[in-house]
Amino acid sequence: MSTMTDWDFDPGEKVISMKEWKERYEWVEDPQVSPDGENVAAVVNLGNGEFTVCNNGEAWESPCEKIWCLRFSPDGRLTAIVCQEMEWTMSVDGTFWDSRFDFLWNTRFSDDGAHIAAAWQNDLTYGMTLDDVSWETGYSNMSGMCLSPEGGKTAAVVQTIGLNEGEIFKFAEGAYTAALNGKTWPRNFMNVWDIAFSSNSEHIAAEVRLDRTTYTIAVDGETWKQRYDCVWTPKFHPSEHKVVAPVRVAGAWTLAENGVLIWKNRYLQLWQTLYSPCGKHIAAIVSPAYGKWTMAKDDQPWNNRFGEMVSDPVFSPNGDRLAVSVKDNGKWTLAVNDQVWGQWFNRVWGPVFSPDGRYVASRVESDGKFTCAVNGKAWEKTYDFCLDPVFSPDGDRLLVRAFKDGAYYRIVIPTTQIAG
């Protein structure tokens, strides 16, 4: 396991050619890159219906009938969902979990990568498994699977009452609830969506629908007293036992905390609420007028408006800066504290702050060429594809992970080389 401080941030370039892989295997699927950029891996076809994983040129030993969902965990382990003799399991660096499933999907990692969870189906019952330990109870359906940030708990929306086709009145009585580590809340709802964990993993909250037109938030199975026309995903305060959620009241959206409306403004839309890391500020994507989108921080909408989309909001680690990707007139860029980058791109990915918040970077694409941009300036070097940039702990170096002409490139440059 590597931590970021061990990563090689010395300026330079490492190249791994994948051309030879293409000769060796029938085909090479879409490559995945490790967080530290040292490894590139892909599912490869050995022929005769057999597949394996090739990681930096080395193949995992046991071939499988099927392999999918190849993902590096945040701590750099390589995971894949694999099928042998019609049974599915998780492979971690080529070693299989003991459990076997009729199907396995939705791999989830804890923030530090130490824990791995996934959703399973066995004999048409559904549950979750965490580090190869499965829920004791299976349910007839499951959705919205999640893993707590530190990785100790799993949760999902589950169906506890069987429904035959057309049983709309039974449905209205409530067949769904949330399950934490496989244990359900004491009551059911018509619908449950979008479970959120508290930062200490002790509590969960979710959107619930009580009848066709009545929505509210439930925390650990207890609903807020207030009822709404609609709600979106709740969020826990980072340190206090408080929950906020966008709620729709009398046809307009605003923000509620533990059931009390805390924002004065009313919006045409409001979603993706986020707290600053210290919990001092709350921001959300809002639409102050039809077809106009922006960010609001503490109920103050930015002056800039964007016609098409606002997404991926993120606070800097110290909470002073708020960045978001924005789309207007068919082009994307970033906006940071209501300042819009000068250059627009065909696509941008989510903003990435340096740990000290000085820099904000993003992966960008124009004319089919990919590169990274920092503080509004795009690097002149372009690639066939690249991944999100990663800052060194001091923010002075930038790790660029990219592909060009069938080779993978791990490049470290001084951040100023792009930012100036």
Binding site: E26, W27, E29, D30, K66, W68, C69, D102, F103, W105, N106, A119, Q121, Y126, N141, M142, S143, Q159, E165, G166, E167, I168, F169, F171, Y176, M190, N191, W193, R209, D211, R212, T213, Y215, D229, C230, A250, G251, L268, Q269, W271, S287, Y290, G291, W293, G307, E308, M309, S311, K327, G330, N346, R347, W349, E365, F370, F385
Partner: protein, 445 residues
């Protein structure tokens, strides 16, 4: 082939048993009806409803536009304005003081005697949009808890799974893997790239494809592979572009389902969504669902299959190896013709594939609806006879072409027209454009 053979019978007049409506109506009280109707009028419909109600001069010019009216021997109760008279006008006039029997009739009229096809809006001198008025009736009925059972079950599926057919998450992924494997028998290196972040295209379908018509996903995969597209399909909910909540007036679930679709496309960072041959899903993504959320236009561009095929053919990315031999006619789905003007593009694709193309009349934006759209077919078997009786003009229109194959580039139209063909004993086969394109295109040896 010849004239439609079946006369419509007394079944049309028979009282329909629909638990969704019957039990819903039982629970109504006059106070609740009045309060819900007035709440919708005051808080939701605003000036638009007001303007329509005040502008209509009851001239009946819209009648000749409606296939229900024409097919039911010009019975005025099936005319567009006749449907308005039986529903929204009375609600407005009586300020919401209508009884449960009134609601019972209103829900049936709005849900099963109008396809929201908007043909009548072209015939009204004031452009009054009867489809909108019928949607307001459906919205009121939704809020009253009175919705036909089958379509409500579909909306329930949307709310739980984000797809319309209760397709579970593992079933969806398994179907993609299975279709990829099937495809490899034909094209050994065929891929269905799942969850490929940064691809150019997210291909989205409606839930009947994985449920009953997985071959369409296979055909689309062949098309994408042959054309050399950089594409992907999601492994998460959000893959389904369909939307029956739009048709029951459950705007909150419509919004939720569309948000899931667009956020999935954004999560995968694609340049655009290409969607399969479906009309109502296009209306939901391109018009109603996105706008309910506050997006004037789709935040990630959406390209309908017809436009996509046309582009691939024009750019030479797909070539026709041999022409389709049977005679074909083409149905114009309301949502992508009156709703988007794709009729010349569909003709250019059909002409590229087929030598013997026969127009049905009327056509293009004047085409008759299939009578399945607008959620009508989704109200299920109780209404099938009415649906058949309500579209005799379509059967006559089809029969007159004497074509062997009917191309219907929309799922609802496809199913609805199969019913019509069967009911009226027409000798015609229904196909999607992709069925023929797949058959006729150049593929690797």
């Amino acid at each position: 082939m010849g004239d439609p053979a079946v006369q419509n019978d007394a079944a049309v007049e028979a009282k329909v048993v629909d638990e969704g409506i019957d039990r819903g109506v039982e629970a109504l009280t006059p106070e609740r009806i009045e309060s819900v109707i007035n709440q919708v009028f005051e808080k939701e419909t605003g000036a638009r409803l007001q303007a329509y109600v005040e502008t209509c001069v009851h001239c009946g010019l819209c009648s000749e536009a409606c296939h229900f009216y024409l097919s039911n021997d010009k019975d005025p109760k099936f005319s567009p304005v006749g449907k308005v008279k039986q529903t929204i006008w009375e609600m407005v006039k009586r300020k919401g003081r209508v009884d449960a029997d009134f609601i019972r009739n209103a829900v049936e009229v709005a849900h099963t005697q109008c396809n929201l096809c908007k043909r009548c809006a072209m015939y009204c001198p004031f452009g009054i949009d009867i489809a909108y008025l019928m949607l307001v009736v459906r919205r009121i009925c939704h809020k009253l808890g009175v919705t036909p059972l089958y379509i409500q079950d579909t909306v329930n599926s949307h709310s739980v799974t984000m797809n319309q057919m209760w397709v579970k998450e593992d079933e969806w992924i398994d179907t993609l893997q299975w279709q990829e494997e099937e495809g490899r028998d034909e094209i050994p290196d065929l891929r269905i790239p799942v969850e490929k972040e940064g691809a150019d295209i997210m291909y989205s379908v409606i839930a009947p494809e994985p449920k009953f018509q997985a071959g369409l996903i296979y055909q689309a995969a062949v098309l994408m592979n042959v054309a050399g597209m950089n594409w992907t399909m999601p492994a998460t909910p959000g893959w389904d572009n369909s939307d029956m909540a739009m048709y029951t007036g459950d705007n909150e679930i419509m919004a939720r389902v569309k948000r899931s679709h667009f956020e999935t496309a954004r999560r995968l960072r694609v340049n655009k969504i290409v969607m399969g041959e479906c009309g109502h899903a296009f209306r939901s993504i391109y018009d109603m669902g996105n706008r309910q959320l506050g997006w004037k236009m789709p935040p990630i561009p959406v390209q309908h299959a017809i436009d996509f095929y046309d582009e691939l053919l024009r750019e030479g990315k797909i070539r026709i190896a041999r022409k389709f031999e049977k005679s074909v006619t083409l149905h114009d789905p309301c949502n992508i013709v009156r709703g988007r003007g794709l009729h010349e593009k569909s003709r250019s694709v059909v002409r590229a594939m087929c030598d013997n193309f026969i127009e049905m009349h009327p056509n293009r934006e004047h085409n008759y609806c299939c009578a399945a759209g607008g959620g009508v077919i989704n109200c299920g078997p109780p209404y099938k006879q009415k649906r058949m009786a309500g579209n005799r003009v379509k059967a006559e229109q089809l029969a007159a072409t004497k074509a062997e194959v009917l191309i219907a580039p929309c799922h609802n139209c496809h199913s609805g027209l199969e019913d019509i063909i069967h009911h009226y004993k027409l000798d015609m086969e229904v196909k999607f454009i992709l069925d023929i394109l797949y058959e006729c295109m150049e593929k690797p040896e």
